[in-house]
């Protein structure tokens, strides 16, 4: 279904009134958006709700997409603002127990892995779970670089950072990921190497 069309061509057709073709863009980027949102939220339900909101917002402001950057780059800015809005709202809802819960969540995440309760021990699950142990900034950076196919320059542009700063941050994020993998998945890593 319209898989041969480029993002710009699809957007042009949507702006001309072909709403149905937006489904192609959703299918093309739903995993990318969902993964990025999941780095911010703790549950898949929340991530799905926010991801849906991202696509609705993207659709409504599609006329603002100038085409001077990749659609995925532009979409990331929508992801980021939607996630920040969601987190702010969530924080307001749970102000009194916010700090306690954040601490507990982190503790549970760590202890969950120590207790070796990982059901899926596949490589894919292991990497994704290790990424989720990182801070949202680190995990976003890794996802954008490896899965979003964004260059350091493009990441710098959307994060408003110099490419060299992005490079340093990426090195540090990968080092922190390696530490998490060594701490929680040392056996699996040995099996892989």
């Amino acid at each position: 279904m319209h898989t041969e069309l480029t993002d710009t061509e699809i957007i042009k057709r949507i702006l001309q009134g072909d709403q149905a073709i937006f489904a192609t863009l959703v299918q093309r980027y739903q995993q990318y958006v969902f993964t990025l949102v999941l780095r911010f939220t703790d549950s898949r339900e929340d991530a799905e709700e926010v991801s849906q909101d991202v696509f609705v917002k993207a659709y409504r402001s599609l006329a603002d997409f100038r085409g001077d950057a990749k659609f995925s780059t532009w979409l990331y800015t929508v992801v980021r603002t939607s996630c920040i809005t969601f987190l702010r709202k969530k924080r307001l809802d749970t102000t009194s127990i916010d700090n306690e819960r954040t601490a507990l969540q982190l503790e549970n995440r760590e202890s969950g892995f120590n207790a070796n309760t990982i059901e899926q021990k596949s490589r894919h699950a292991m990497v994704n779970q290790a990424i989720r142990l990182l801070s949202p900034d680190d995990s976003q950076l890794i996802t954008l670089f490896y899965k979003g196919e964004q260059s350091l320059e493009e990441i710098g542009k959307i994060m408003r950072l110099e490419p060299n700063t992005v490079k340093v941050k990426l090195h540090r994020a990968r080092n922190r990921l390696r530490e998490k993998l060594e701490k929680h998945f040392s056996h699996e890593l040995k099996d892989l190497s």
Partner: protein, 173 residues
């Protein structure tokens, strides 16, 4: 060592650096082990898959957007002339206030040896009525200093905006 190796793995180093790192990996055991370790992480990340939402996701989005319309582009309803007009208004205000502040300075009091410069009085230019207004109530020294500070901050903000715009212009040709 790690930074250099990550740079090498990402393919971001110069040919000379690349060759130097290759030599180090080939000859130095420590570099070799670290390289293998980092390459393993890099390959794991490359091979990892994206998370997938539920099967109904696309359908849900399409149902949701059917209730909305695409909003007109921001650039189509923001009139640049209005923004320029507001800018011109504030600029005129700043310049006017600056002129007022400078006119209040007694230029002759700086040095006694130098001849004082006789500035035209308000009576000379037919604005004698203004002398009757008691400015001291409003334009006392605290007020003027405060206003000058605001002006300085606003000038810095304008300069910052201008420089940022200039920077963006050079990075996005």
């Amino acid at each position: 060592m790690e930074d250099r190796l990550w740079n090498y793995i990402d393919g971001g180093c110069s040919p000379a650096e690349k060759s130097a790192i290759e030599t180090l990996i080939a000859t130095n055991r420590e570099w070799q082990e670290k390289y293998r370790e980092l390459l393993n992480i890099h390959q794991l990340l490359n091979a990892s898959e994206l998370e997938a939402p539920s099967m109904r996701f696309t359908k849900n989005v399409m149902e949701e957007i059917s209730r909305y319309q695409i909003a007109p582009a921001t650039r189509s309803y923001i009139n640049k002339n209005v923004i320029r007009g507001i800018g011109a208004f504030f600029l005129t205000m700043i310049l006017g206030l600056l002129a007022f502040v400078f006119s209040q300075i007694k230029w002759s009091s700086g040095s006694q040896s130098s001849k004082s410069i006789k500035l035209p009085s308000v009576n000379d230019i037919g604005l004698g009525q203004l002398n009757k207004i008691d400015y001291s109530k409003t334009f006392n020294s605290t007020w003027v200093i405060g206003f000058m500070l605001i002006l300085v901050v606003m000038s810095w903000m304008l300069l910052d905006m201008y420089l940022q715009q200039k920077k963006r212009g050079t990075t996005n040709p």
